[in-house]
Symmetry: C2
Subunit: 189 residues, 2 copies
DNA sequence: TAGCACATGTAAGTAGTTACATGATTGA
DNA sequence: TCAATCATGTAACTACTTACATGTGCTA
């Protein structure tokens, strides 16, 4: 049940509305967790009921009113105790990998199409993360920022997200190459 | 609902019992999917009922009897249609990343402990995958095997699994380094 | 004038986890 | 004799996904 902790972590550095948290989950938070808006709203309600976050109403004129949430002392304590327990390693669970596992029994063209789609997706996401990293660094060079920057947690998880997508991209490229080369070998014989 | 397809993919190259499939999910299949024994047995029952796999009873003397399953023509067709639909990209969902996201607000020692545990786990898993890759290649060198080997699907997914764990290992190492360096900087001032 | 961003959810269904059950054989 | 491996599940619970609901105001 780490969604609650992911929401808490997302709220640590700034006060956010439920809507903003869902936006964060679609963008930056995607580096370390993923959740749909419905889950986020439900979790925020639970966290508030348990006193781990507190919300305050903000009345707006041109837009619907909203509630801004922040992490309470109890919420921070909950995160501390979460971090002190062993993290369970996560596993890969990915459609595309299942498809490639079956590659020797499936149509090559179809697979290459999937891999090409995914290549483009990974490339785009990696570029997006790179931009976020540049923004977080500001003018600093990376080594300096990591040593003396105010908050490096989000930076480090974002870097993991970027490297994950880069690895996906490179893997897609390599697999396409292999499948094409094998097709030519088959055609020759 | 890709568990069914993961099970089908695992059964493509050899006839396996439910028990053996659960073992595969604990080891090699972990490269492209993850599931607990209960899920595997339930899924096999469903797949059999729908005619996507077929089982045959094998009577044993020294051990309990078992049922060996293989993929039927319909099962293969199901995999084909699965591969022809766009694969939904998966997302990172990992406790340790949540903990590092909150790093600036948590105790550094505790985090370094988590990262060190995970480093060792990733290292061990990467080594295991490397061994599996060597076994699959047999005597061949990699380029030759990828070009002319009989089945490259499992090899390619295993390589992704290995690279994923290597990336986890390297990230853990880098994060520990950053956290330690920052602690020293704080101590100086 | 149609669609998107803001803002917050409910309801129903599917998938995954945790806990438990059974019983034989083999190796330390 | 204690734990592990083989072999197969059931039951209860938690988490996640899909589909739907509501209403304003800004922008193309």
């Amino acid at each position: 049940m780490a969604l609650r902790h992911a929401v808490l972590a997302a709220l640590l550095d700034e006060e956010l509305s439920g809507y903003q948290v869902t936006k964060a989950f679609a963008a930056g938070v995607a580096n370390f967790w993923h959740a749909l808006p419905q889950q986020v709203y439900a979790e925020l309600a639970r966290l508030e009921k348990e006193g781990l976050v507190a919300g305050r109403e903000v009345v707006q004129e041109a837009r619907p009113n909203k509630r801004l949430f922040h992490v309470t002392g109890e919420g921070l304590a909950e995160l501390e105790s979460f971090a002190s327990a062993a993290a369970k390693p996560s596993f890969l669970r990915e459609d595309l990998l299942v498809q490639v596992q079956a590659a020797d029994h499936l149509d090559t063209d179809v697979l290459i199409e999937r891999l090409t789609e995914r290549f483009a997706f990974a490339e785009a996401k990696a570029a997006l993360f790179d931009e976020q990293l540049r923004t977080m660094r500001g003018g600093c060079d990376e080594a300096e920022f990591l040593l003396r920057g105010a908050r490096v947690g989000p930076y480090l998880t974002c870097r993991r997200g970027r490297d994950f997508e880069r690895a996906n991209r490179d893997w897609c490229r390599d697999v396409v190459e292999v499948l094409r080369a094998r097709r030519e070998v088959r055609a020759e014989s």
